[in-house]
Symmetry: C2
Subunit: 262 residues, 2 copies
């Protein structure tokens, strides 16, 4: 975890899903010690109080392996490099891209002190906005088929329904992929009850957070965009109505009513 | 997220898996504003710099619903109450217990300003200790059958193998449940390759963090205890050997070798 580092290094960090109130002190510490910040421009823009001597290397979000390679070259030269993700860097983000680049790249890169600093991933902040829908067993699936086949995605959705997992969908929609979420809902309607709850949570963890609560039968894929996490409840996920406010949504830890402990 | 709160309230917080370096500023802020801290004793002990006027309500870890009820009574009386979990409060922790207590309890509790503040859940810190094993689609399953049947757990393990999810196992073993992890490995050996990677990560996110990397064929349930998260790789999860150090483990974002972006 915290062994001293006296030459070039690379740490992949996650800023969390929202503002700095969800960024861990460990991540802030990496940022303060880094000579170079590498990442998708909008994530770098979220970092305040940068040292004037610190170099930024911003890129767009479709060149992860190239960006990782650049970061590794800098670290190999002795620079202290933070590779910046949103959320948690290990969940559908830059950490895997860095290891892909290491495996395919210069063998000398295996000598670099590479670390990963965890963060609050988007589905946790999304869940917190509505209550505790991830209170039972759950799975996380990226709907993007840029890197895996749609057949793999549908196989996983079907297995998740069979397992009665709560399902968190990352990357539910983008301009280039407008139809997949609708197809996912259609598939799940054949395998789960239409009464199962669906939550569209946009910009979780920020002041602009917005929640739409509906059912699988009524869910409309048009309610998701790139900043949305979609959470689909298990058969156990339920609402608690309350006066003058949106219902809370949670998944009980137990399957049946009764008493016990965990 | 941050609307003002002018009467009693209850916020369920997660301290993260390790020391204060993994606790978010939002959670520290809730702690500083709370009049009452309610939680499992060892979690409360992790909170430093407590105000003398702040009241602690420590309990053991088998009375979650009672503890939640006590917290709700305090909030209904006008106190500002933080219910303290480790990790993320929505993942196998106190948030669901609070909502269970609300649903079954005094209808007036539905008027309480109840919020959840997310945190870094244990599997994210465990993954970061070894590389990026959660880089693909994954699921999280609690092996505790205190609150659900073992049949439900085995059904979920089988579906997870069928989906080729990376599997994070919470609560893999305790003194009261020493045999379940061995049974889970045995089941998975019938459904997955014996070469699939298994990581035992103990005390992730702390200076005492310890990793044991093995394969499903060789995995020994005796290597897990209550502080361990077990991560079982998908068919795609792989190692990168490096000189004089434990291999990195990661799951590529793509299924096949090739180039692309996400």
């Amino acid at each position: 975890m915290s062994a001293p580092r006296d030459k070039g290094w690379l740490t992949v960090i996650g800023l969390g899903p929202g503002g700095p109130h969800l960024t861990t002190p460990a991540v802030m510490n990496v940022i303060s010690e880094a000579t170079d910040l590498v990442g998708y421009g909008p994530y770098l823009d979220r970092i305040e109080g940068q040292e004037p001597s610190q170099r930024r290397h911003a890129s767009d979000n479709r060149v992860e392996v190239e960006r990782a390679g650049e970061a590794l070259r800098l670290a190999a030269e002795g620079r202290r490099v933070a590779v910046v993700s949103g959320g948690d860097p290990g969940v559908f983000a830059m950490a895997a891209a860095v290891f892909e680049a290491i495996e395919a790249g210069d063998p000398a890169w295996r000598n670099i002190d590479v670390r990963v600093e965890p963060g609050v991933t988007a589905m946790l902040a999304a869940a917190a906005e509505v209550g505790a829908p991830l209170g039972g067993d759950f799975c996380a699936i990226s709907l993007s088929d840029n890197l895996k086949s749609w057949a793999t995605i549908t196989r996983r959705l079907a297995a998740a329904a069979q397992a009665d997992f709560v399902i968190a969908l990352y990357n539910p929609a983008s301009r280039a992929r407008p139809h997949q979420l609708g197809e996912a809902f259609e598939l799940l309607r054949g395998l789960k009850s239409g009464d199962d709850l669906v939550m569209f949570v946009r910009a979780a963890g920020t002041k602009e957070a917005r929640v739409k609560l509906t059912t699988l039968a009524e869910a409309d894929a048009a309610d998701a965009d790139m900043r949305t996490v979609v959470i689909i409840g298990s058969s156990q996920t339920r609402t608690i109505d309350r006066p003058d406010a949106q219902p809370w949504v949670y998944t009980p830890r137990r399957e049946m009513v009764g008493e016990g402990g965990a």
